[in-house]
């Protein structure tokens, strides 16, 4: 498989007429005393034919971002511009009409829960096309068969219900459902989390092929960085509702600018114990927190502080103020006051040997060898 679609640059520069532009987006969920700010000042552009990986942990706002872009959540501030239309400003009928156009489609994590268990595959895939209201019966039929073909399924699954097909097939059906309306942008919310390794890779490869053959833009929400690295052009890292890092996938993973990106990489399971940094080098231990001056510790946990400061091993006085998402290189952005310093500090933490734990590479190998007898 080729790295990118022929004729498309490896990473489309986001400044040339993006398909989707999210600008200064704030999202607040809940009202009154329950109100929580889920997204803060999110700026993001997705170019045509681009695959963007959106990573971050539970509660980082990945899913809320996807839902806001799809018009399922109204932003408190900022806007979402899709194909030149400010879709976040659309109301009622206009918004419904935009949604029914089906140019922007969502694929959900768990197809067993997101697909109606009593509908047949045929009905599920046809539903979006029927709602568009443009196609006659024969055209709907043609679109269904085409969409299933695009995900590598044949007509034999048409009369089955989601419960009667395998997990991998189900996720393909939910992708086919999205493809049937001939979308321009596919937002896949954890499309592979529920699948085993082989099926996971199959679905990701399929998405890359769809990008190449249909020129789709695809946003993949995932917490599996390693497999994202296999197919994405760009990776956007969210932490507690803010983008902390954004850039071409090869550059970000070769040299992360933000310690949280490094933490995600260090935490990813690996068959070999060959990571340079361990999660313990990148997060502040309880003991270390106890050694910090009380005023500083309070500042780092305060509402204005950098979102990652409560966990960051390298947080300093400057980090009591949220850093802006600033340009870091040609196509990269990062929000870290200490982006030029933390890597050296992390290496120092390992070298000083103050963290006696088996997750450190050398100790890990010793422990393993010891147990093998």
């Amino acid at each position: 498989m080729t790295a990118a679609a022929p004729g498309l640059p490896e990473t489309s520069p986001p400044d040339t007429a993006p398909l989707l532009a999210v600008e200064s987006l704030d999202v607040v969920l809940g009202r009154g005393w329950r109100a929580t700010q889920v997204l803060s000042g999110v700026d993001l552009a997705i170019g045509p034919g681009e695959i963007v990986g959106l990573v971050g942990e539970t509660g980082s706002g990945k899913t809320t971002l996807a839902r806001t872009v799809a018009g399922l959540v109204s932003p408190a501030a900022g806007q979402v511009v899709f194909e030149g239309t400010t879709i976040s400003a659309l109301r009622r009928g206009a918004r419904r009409a935009e949604r029914r156009r089906g140019h922007l489609q969502l694929v959900f994590q768990d197809p067993l829960r997101s697909l109606d268990p009593e509908m047949t595959v045929d009905d599920i895939v046809a539903e979006g096309v029927t709602l568009q209201g443009q196609a006659d019966r024969a055209e709907i039929r043609r679109r269904v068969v085409t969409a299933l073909g695009q995900v590598g399924l044949d007509d034999s699954v048409l009369p089955r219900t989601p419960g009667q097909i395998s997990g991998g097939q189900r996720q393909r059906v939910s992708i086919a459902r999205a493809l049937a309306t001939e979308p321009r942008l596919l937002i896949c919310d954890e499309p592979v989390s529920a699948l085993d390794a082989s099926n996971r890779n199959y679905i990701l490869r399929l998405l890359e092929q769809l990008r190449t053959s249909l020129g789709l833009s695809i946003v993949i929400i995932s917490h599996d960085l390693s497999s994202l690295a296999g197919i994405a052009d760009r990776v956007v890292v969210l932490y507690r509702g803010r983008i902390v890092e954004d850039g071409p996938v090869d550059q970000v993973f070769a040299a992360p600018e933000h310690p949280y990106t490094a933490l995600l990489m260090a935490s990813a399971p690996s068959v070999r114990h060959d990571r340079e940094l361990s999660p313990r080098q990148l997060t502040r231990t309880v003991a270390e927190a106890g050694e910090l001056p009380e005023a500083l510790l309070a500042g780092l946990g305060g509402p204005d502080a950098c979102v990652f400061a409560p966990r960051c091993a390298f947080a300093a006085a400057a980090c009591t103020v949220q850093p802006p998402l600033a340009a870091a290189g040609e196509h990269r952005r990062a929000a870290c006051h200490r982006h030029s310093e933390w890597l050296t500090l992390a290496r120092g933490r390992a070298a000083r040997g103050q963290l006696t734990h088996h997750r450190l590479t050398t100790d890990g190998q010793l422990a393993t060898e010891g147990q093998l007898r």
Binding site: M1, A3, E57, T58, G59, S166, G167, D196, A197, S198, N199, R200, N201, Y202, L204, R205, H223, D224, L225, S226, S227, A229, G230, I231, V249, D250, F253, A254, L263, L264, M265, A266, S267, A268, P269, S270, V271, R272, H273, D274, R275, P279, V286, H357, H358, R359, A367, T368, E369, Q371, L372, R373
Partner: protein
């Protein structure tokens, strides 16, 4: 078997001494590696009331203080094997043949009362979705203390004190505060820690962790893996760790057992399996696993689908998907062969030289 039988000295003082407060790591345990704590031998399990055989001749052993990983695709029989070992097979599933022993005691003939004694006191278990195992309306501390009061007969006060110690032992900060919280107030990672605290509350010798980290974020998964490793080091806890991700298993386990379509196809020391996989299926699993590689690369898939549960296949069950299958693979049952120290492979071509090279190049 009676309960007293199980409490033989061989089982090494279950539970805590009545004087709570003694550090759990001081409980004397026999040295790890002396004999198998849990041993399954030639286990056959049928499902759907005998309509299909899902587990065919599974044998595996786990020693005290050892972490053994069971790995394989969904439907390969890992979970069923665990549930058999825990004595909680779903309805319609029966053990047709084979033996299961725990510290020398037969588990297959154990009565309901006998299992009650084993659960918690000798075996603990954690599963994929911690929230679904806790009562959402009761504080987690109460649910933990309840176990201690019922199983160990501790007083209210002692159970509370011991619960807080356990919550702290599984790495929860502010355990006193967590004690009074209900499940909805805790994150998935914290809930899984609470489940582990409950599972180890009566100081079992074995912890069964079935996909216990699968639903968690990678950062939390790494922390739980760390915790399991620490519990083994501090308490001599043996862990049977089930996962479909070979990378996670490789991170944690001493030994790996690879399941395919209800059979063990390869087992051996983790480092050996990762560096020198001998079964084509293990090799395929390694190729699709998250190798911790952050470069753009071709994502591999294992071609084909596993056979349906109970399929009657002569010879190797993987032959239909195997890139190196030969005629000899389809003629008769394949017996496991020993290819190294504790390293067994169920493959007729295991001794041939196809297995290295390609993987090392990655």
């Amino acid at each position: 078997m009676t309960i007293d039988n199980l409490k033989s000295p061989d089982l090494a003082a279950p539970g805590l001494p009545p004087t709570a407060g003694a550090a759990p790591d001081t409980v004397s345990r026999p040295a790890p590696g002396t004999s198998d704590l849990l041993s399954l031998d030639d286990l056959h399990i049928s499902v759907h009331h005998g309509a299909a055989t899902a587990i065919r001749g599974v044998s595996l052993g786990i020693r005290r203080g050892e972490i053994v990983g069971l790995v394989g695709e969904s439907g390969s029989g890992k979970t069923l094997t665990c549930r058999a070992a825990l004595g909680v097979l779903p309805a319609g599933c029966t053990i047709d043949h084979g033996s299961m022993t725990f510290a020398g005691h037969d588990l297959t003939t154990l009565s309901r009362r006998g299992w009650e004694e084993v659960h918690g006191s000798h075996m603990g278990a954690v599963f994929q979705d911690p929230a679904s195992y806790l009562n959402p309306t009761i504080t987690v501390g109460h649910q933990l203390a309840e176990v201690l009061r019922v199983k160990l007969g501790l007083s209210r006060r002692a159970a509370h004190q011991r619960s807080v110690e356990l919550l702290s032992a599984v790495g929860l900060h502010q355990p006193e505060h967590v004690f009074h919280q209900i499940p909805a107030e805790l994150s998935g990672g914290m809930l899984q820690r609470v489940m582990i605290a409950i599972a180890i509350s009566c100081d079992p010798e074995l912890l069964v962790a079935d996909e216990a980290t699968t639903a968690l974020d990678v950062t939390i998964q790494a922390e739980i893996i760390d915790l399991l490793r620490r519990l083994r080091d501090e308490r001599g806890l043996a862990v049977l760790f089930v996962s479909h991700d070979l990378a996670v298993v490789a991170e944690l386990c001493d030994r790996v057992v690879v399941f395919y379509a209800g059979e063990v196809v390869e087992s051996g020391p983790a480092a050996e399996i990762i560096e020198r996989p001998r079964h084509p299926y293990t090799r395929a699993l390694l190729e699709v696993a998250s190798v911790g590689d952050f470069r753009r690369r071709e994502l591999r898939v294992i071609a084909g689908q596993p056979p349906p549960v109970g399929a009657d296949i002569t010879g190797c069950r993987f032959a239909g998907r195997c890139p190196v299958a030969a005629d000899a693979c389809r003629t008769g049952p394949i017996a496991p062969v020993t290819v190294g120290d504790q390293h067994e492979v169920r493959c007729v071509r295991a001794q041939e030289a196809w297995s290295t090279g390609e993987l090392a190049a990655r």
